[in-house]
């Protein structure tokens, strides 16, 4: 039996449900997506890529496409839902990638994820409705993308062809969450020195 079901909203939009839970507002999915963007956006930060954790019914992705010029990588563990949303809209393949990953190992091997990390700046956005039934995976994915721990940071640096920067000194200095000061201590460069000035 399929875990995905589809309804048509009063305005003719496809609204998907996962295990009986609607993934977007039935009556006004566009207003909900606009609200999602207002709450999720980081004013003043314009990255090259966005990782969106949760495909939902795709309305928030469509909103994001209108709001920025960045590339978008959608990460979700629900392959069936992802396929449905992917086929429902004419997504620009140059800007939008669907990464179906259900565990960390798949995430780390995913080519779209790797390519966006290599490309440069990125932000991670949550679609909380999507995450309700598989919170553990999304938490882990977020943690590795945000990379405020040495292992995740080493993975991202390796993807970029840089030395991991993880040494004993680094492990000793770091608190529970890595800060830019820890990085400056472990692998100093001019950018990190500049950024450290912003928090002192």
């Amino acid at each position: 039996m399929s875990l995905v079901s589809k309804e048509i909203s009063p305005f003719g939009e496809s609204i998907y449900s996962w295990k009986g839970r609607r993934q977007a507002s039935f009556y006004n999915p566009h207003a909900e997506a606009a609200d999602w963007w207002i709450k999720s956006r980081r004013a003043g930060l314009d990255p090259k890529s966005y990782f969106v954790l949760g495909v939902g019914s795709g309305f928030h992705i469509r909103r994001l496409l209108c709001e920025c010029t960045a590339n978008i990588v959608i990460i979700d563990s629900r392959a069936e839902l992802m396929a449905a949303v992917k086929g429902d809209f004419n997504w620009n393949p140059e800007r939008v990638s669907f990464s179906g990953c259900s565990n960390l190992s798949q995430l780390k091997k995913d080519s779209a994820v790797a390519s966006s990390i290599k490309q440069g700046s990125f932000l991670v956005l949550d679609h909380t409705v999507s995450q309700v039934l598989d919170g553990a995976f999304f938490n882990e994915a977020r943690s590795w993308l945000v990379a405020r721990n040495w292992k995740a940071l080493a993975w991202q640096r390796k993807l970029r062809g840089l030395p991991s920067g993880v040494g004993d000194r680094a492990f000793e200095s770091a608190g529970p969450l890595l800060t830019i000061k820890d990085l400056d201590f472990a692998m100093p460069d001019a950018t990190l020195s500049a950024l450290t000035e912003m928090i002192t």
């Binding site: 991670v124 993308l145 830019i180 000035e197 912003m198 928090i199």
Partner: protein, 508 residues
């Protein structure tokens, strides 16, 4: 030629670069001029169309990216790096960093350029300045020093634009002039007021502003009060409107081009330490009355226009450091500046009367130009003006010229300086000024004797301990300092004697 000017502080600091930008354009008319600022300064873009690329860094966004655990650790790093990479595509021939902060120094270090002026760091992390003027500024970061130049003069001299007229003009869009036609009443004298500053320590209370407006309004019916403010300050502006009722005031919640248009049509601007006072330098008509409170450092960032008046508190802790909390139980410098005193001076300025201030702990100072272009601000005493003139002109010669050239030009320099000083001089003060010059001369001679002795001891120590001493670098630095001070003091003495000769001749 491609030139990048880096100004990474507040809006007012970027406005202080306007003469530099205009001066560079005049000196290198076919050059490409770009700016790198924080996004708060982007509002200046329409006023400076000579700027080809305006790079901006959103300081608060980058900073919040560093501190929030849900933002990737590398996001701020990547964004800054990407911005610098874009800048590097321009292949700048000259980068001028007018911001004297470690942050700007590190960022400028990442920008590739044939030449850098202003703070930057080399691969070993050692600072470079690219100009004796920025080195001088670096050595005078202490707020207590009086041996300092206005920042605009430092920028101009460091970029070898010392003889260029300080051109504060901005390109005012026609749209801005038509926008303000409904605000300004051309039949009246316009008093423009900027209520707020960036810091509570520098902000005069709203009740005082209201009292000032009421005082001025009661003395003349032919005044229009225009109150400037940002959208976020609407509530404050409306509160002021209530406080001054029934006197009408015009609220101008407008952008920077419109502010400039208002200033162009204003007779007087009364403001704290704000970017608006620097914008007012572009207006030929508008006089500037600055209330210098808290951490406002009038010596480095005061109103630039000659004839401006700066009112400051003379209490011992003034000006305090930006980062320092007020050490007093209340803001004494603000409390000492009454609405009555400010309205008295504003009235005198509006009606071209002699400026007189009778208030304890308040000093009124007039802005003047010496040595053609150098800003100085003196407390209505010729002695004070002469002291500043001697100090600054000798430093200027020391920092910009070779000693032989400087010594050779002393005669003409002293002559011109006296011509400038004598415009602010009352004949009845001749004797007291002569006595003052004798006093200064004896102080300089004593200082020279002392430094000769110190230098001798240093040379002895260096030759005794040789290169082995761990203090050698420090001693060498000290020796350099003594040599520069000696050079400056020699020039100062020669200038002083030149002025004294002319003063004695004038006395005859």
């Amino acid at each position: 030629m491609k030139i990048l000017v880096v100004s990474l502080l507040r809006l007012g600091d970027t406005v202080m670069c306007v003469p530099l930008i205009n001066g560079l354009k005049e000196k290198y008319p076919s050059s490409q001029l770009d700016m790198f600022t924080f996004s708060v300064s982007e509002g200046l873009k329409p006023l400076l169309p000579t700027i080809q690329h305006w790079w901006s860094l959103n300081y608060s966004a980058i900073q919040s990216g560093l501190g929030q655990s849900d933002i990737p650790l590398l996001a701020s790093h990547d964004l800054v790096h990407e911005l610098v990479d874009e800048m590097n595509k321009q292949k700048y021939d000259l980068v001028i960093n007018v911001t004297h902060t470690a942050l700007s120094g590190h960022l400028v270090s990442m920008i590739k350029s044939g030449r850098k002026i202003g703070l930057h760091f080399d691969e070993r992390g050692l600072p470079g300045f690219g100009s004796s003027w920025f080195r001088f500024l670096n050595e005078r970061s202490d707020y207590s020093t009086d041996e300092i130049f206005h920042y605009t003069d430092i920028f101009m001299n460091a970029c070898e634009l010392d003889s260029t007229t300080r051109d504060w003009s901005l390109d005012l869009p026609n749209r801005a002039l038509s926008e303000i036609s409904g605000i300004i009443d051309s039949r009246k004298r316009v008093v423009t007021i900027q209520l707020t500053t960036s810091d509570i320590k520098k902000t005069w209370p709203l009740e005082n502003w209201a009292q000032l407006i009421l005082n001025l309004g009661s003395r003349s019916e032919n005044l229009q009060f225009v109150i400037l403010g940002a959208l976020t300050e609407r509530e404050t502006l409306n509160r002021l409107k209530e406080l001054v009722q029934p006197l009408p005031i015009s609220l101008a919640i407008v952008g920077l081009p419109e502010v400039c248009a208002i200033l162009k049509n204003s007779d007087l601007l009364i403001t704290g330490d704000t970017s608006i006072k620097h914008l007012a330098n572009a207006s030929e008509k508008c006089k500037i009355l600055e209330l210098s409170l808290g951490s406002s450092d009038w010596r480095r960032t005061g109103a630039y226009k000659a004839g401006s008046i700066i009112l400051r508190s003379s209490i011992e802790c003034s000006p305090c450091a930006h980062s320092q909390a007020c050490p007093k139980p209340s803001f004494e410098c603000i409390e000492s500046m009454s609405a009555e005193t400010v309205s008295q001076v504003a009235n005198q300025m509006l009606f071209d009367q002699e400026i007189r201030v009778v208030a304890p702990h308040i000093q009124a100072m007039r802005v003047a130009k010496i040595d053609s272009n150098i800003w100085c601000c003196y407390g209505f005493s010729t002695q004070n003006l002469v002291d500043q003139a001697l100090d600054r002109v000798s430093w200027r010669m020391c920092l910009s010229e070779k000693i032989e050239e400087a010594s050779a030009s002393i005669g003409s320099r002293g002559h011109n300086l006296w011509q400038e000083i004598s415009q602010h001089f009352r004949r009845e003060d001749t004797q007291s000024l002569l006595e003052h010059l004798d006093f200064v001369e004896s102080g300089l001679i004593k200082g020279q004797e002392k430094s000769t002795f110190s230098r001798k001891r240093l040379i002895e120590a260096i030759s005794r301990e040789g290169r082995k001493s761990p203090d050698l670098q420090f001693w060498r630095m000290k020796e350099d300092e003594i040599n520069v001070a000696k050079k400056k003091s020699d020039l100062q003495l020669k200038l002083l004697r030149s002025i004294r000769t002319q003063l004695r001749e004038a006395q005859k």
